[in-house]
Symmetry: C2
Subunit: 347 residues, 2 copies
Amino acid sequence: MGRQTGMTKIKNMEEFAALSGISRPTVSKYFHDPDSVRPTTRARIEEALERFDYRPNIYAVNQNRKLTKNIGIVVPYLADPFFAEIARYLEQSCIAAGYRPFLFSSHGEQKLENEILDGLQSLKPAGVLLAPLGRISDKSAIEKFCARVPTVLFDSNLDGLGAAFIGSDNFSFVSQTVEYMTRTGEPPSFFEMRTPANPNANKRRKAYVDVMDRLGFEPHVIKIEGTGWAFEEIGRKGALKILGERKLRTNSVLCSNDRLAIGFLAACFEQGIRVGRKDDCALRVASNDDHPFAKFTCPSLTTAAHDYDNVAARSVETLFELIENGGKFEKRTETLFPARLVLRESA
Amino acid sequence: MGRQTGMTKIKNMEEFAALSGISRPTVSKYFHDPDSVRPTTRARIEEALERFDYRPNIYAVNQNRKLTKNIGIVVPYLADPFFAEIARYLEQSCIAAGYRPFLFSSHGEQKLENEILDGLQSLKPAGVLLAPLGRISDKSAIEKFCARVPTVLFDSNLDGLGAAFIGSDNFSFVSQTVEYMTRTGEPPSFFEMRTPANPNANKRRKAYVDVMDRLGFEPHVIKIEGTGWAFEEIGRKGALKILGERKLRTNSVLCSNDRLAIGFLAACFEQGIRVGRKDDCALRVASNDDHPFAKFTCPSLTTAAHDYDNVAARSVETLFELIENGGKFEKRTETLFPARLVLRESA
DNA sequence: AATAAAAATTAACGCGCGTAAAGTTTTTAT
DNA sequence: ATAAAAACTTTACGCGCGTTAATTTTTATT
């Protein structure tokens, strides 16, 4: 006979307390913070825990605690591996800090984003990490939500919303890629969607124009049609169009983001246009984000990488500070992390 | 003055009932099933609902209901867009049926899978949709979990575990791709990981050998090294190795799954090997899954597509049946959906 | 209008746990 | 050894809602 785990089914804390020989209030205290009880009693409780496999009913717990240990994580589009990666990090950090993360994806739809925030309220989370959809977000809905729940925005900034924002410094992305391409060849054209879903896209375009001006080159922005979150296909179609019309003024293209670039490279391949920094190539393509698949495009994609780890780490840190601070900061802060240029074959 | 939403803050159902002029038990009944009360009272409640924006405390509700309206969705690896897509469908179906889905990713780690199942128990979900890690899953942990929570397995089958399994028919995948490649050129070699994480991989290899035998060709299985879930990189490294050693016996390769194929194509591109069905190509590569990015590889990937929609739809249907049936089926069923061949440029 | 059936009301208990107050025991410090 | 502090036990109430039983009101039927 090994251990008795699961053999005896314990109904509630009362029963477990009796079996462990400790009073219920003390057991309750233990579950709230194991270090708040005497080491000897802690040992006795944990011994009983080994034998009887009991865990407090979280519904009863959360009903009575003023603050739950729940944390909501909301991302705009989980089918994008970029967000899946960030979400993984955020989840782990929350768990490590003793919280219980709940992950949601808006799947690119405003209606869903609103519904998620609505549902999140009844979860009474201690805090929420929100990467909003961006342009199509319902600002007033998010504002109302933030007024009720301590919220830290990440990835996409929305003016004044949330207690803080953590993201990447779009200027750093674009300046590095533009400078690199200029230094090693022709200055790039900028390839983007006409109506980008994400505010980062606008900042990147502005940064591109700025940097080109500063370097004394004329900016050339190529805006392609398409809406939604199927960026690869939008990029591919857009690239086929401009390649067909020979609208490119230079042999260098900087894509607003990697998913567009993936489509762009697919289009080039279809058209038999060689992309890369070698002499026999007709075009150089760089991009921004360092998407998990950027290493496997053909050719592999030169891109400016997000500081994933720092953005994620700082986001949870900030949220925990916010929670400890009672859900309010004196003033809203914005933290931006610079990019890291990743040189591969495409430029 | 528009509506008063949010102006008055209601503490509990007692208070809301008073304000709406209906007794609390009736209001409670309404929230359990709006059709269970008289249309006139329903109207009065919903009228009050518009004015006061009250919603029952889910913790108090779940504590007292024998069955919650929660549903757990667990996938092995959310950074794989394939699972993100399925998860989206599953989530939507659950919501449409009045349930509240909670999404979790095991991120390729057994420890995490176990922790998720552990945490899920205290959520007391009405049911769980589980796509297990596969080979590295802790079978006994999953078995224990299934004994306590109504669970439907999908994507990866584990012998006898869960009340039912819904997945794809691996034989259908491989037979279609092999037959197509054979019909239009040389019979393919089979490219896979030596120790695949997923049981589907084993079934695909067996199917390959079967089909080749049946067609009168000698099977040729190429097993590459590598562990974990970074399939693209594993595929790339493996491809570089066999291409370097010229181990290919034919000009046709069938990859076990699309993520390996993405790596394979990247390796071919690096080596300057032209892939495709055209005359000037040295190699044809096909695969299985129809990964969301398969359309954007260079060249685009010929592959056998999962019947996403049916697998997802049947999974939730089955889970709802299971829940209505009290959490037990007389016998475990396995439902397999056939693949659909998607012809693109790579083969 | 009388009567049966359906629906709502009132009253009350229970769920499992947080938490506070008052008293008791154990530990630590002097 | 003794006092003070810390930790524990007992007792008791409250959280917001599900649920049941007995009663009253409303609706449908004849």
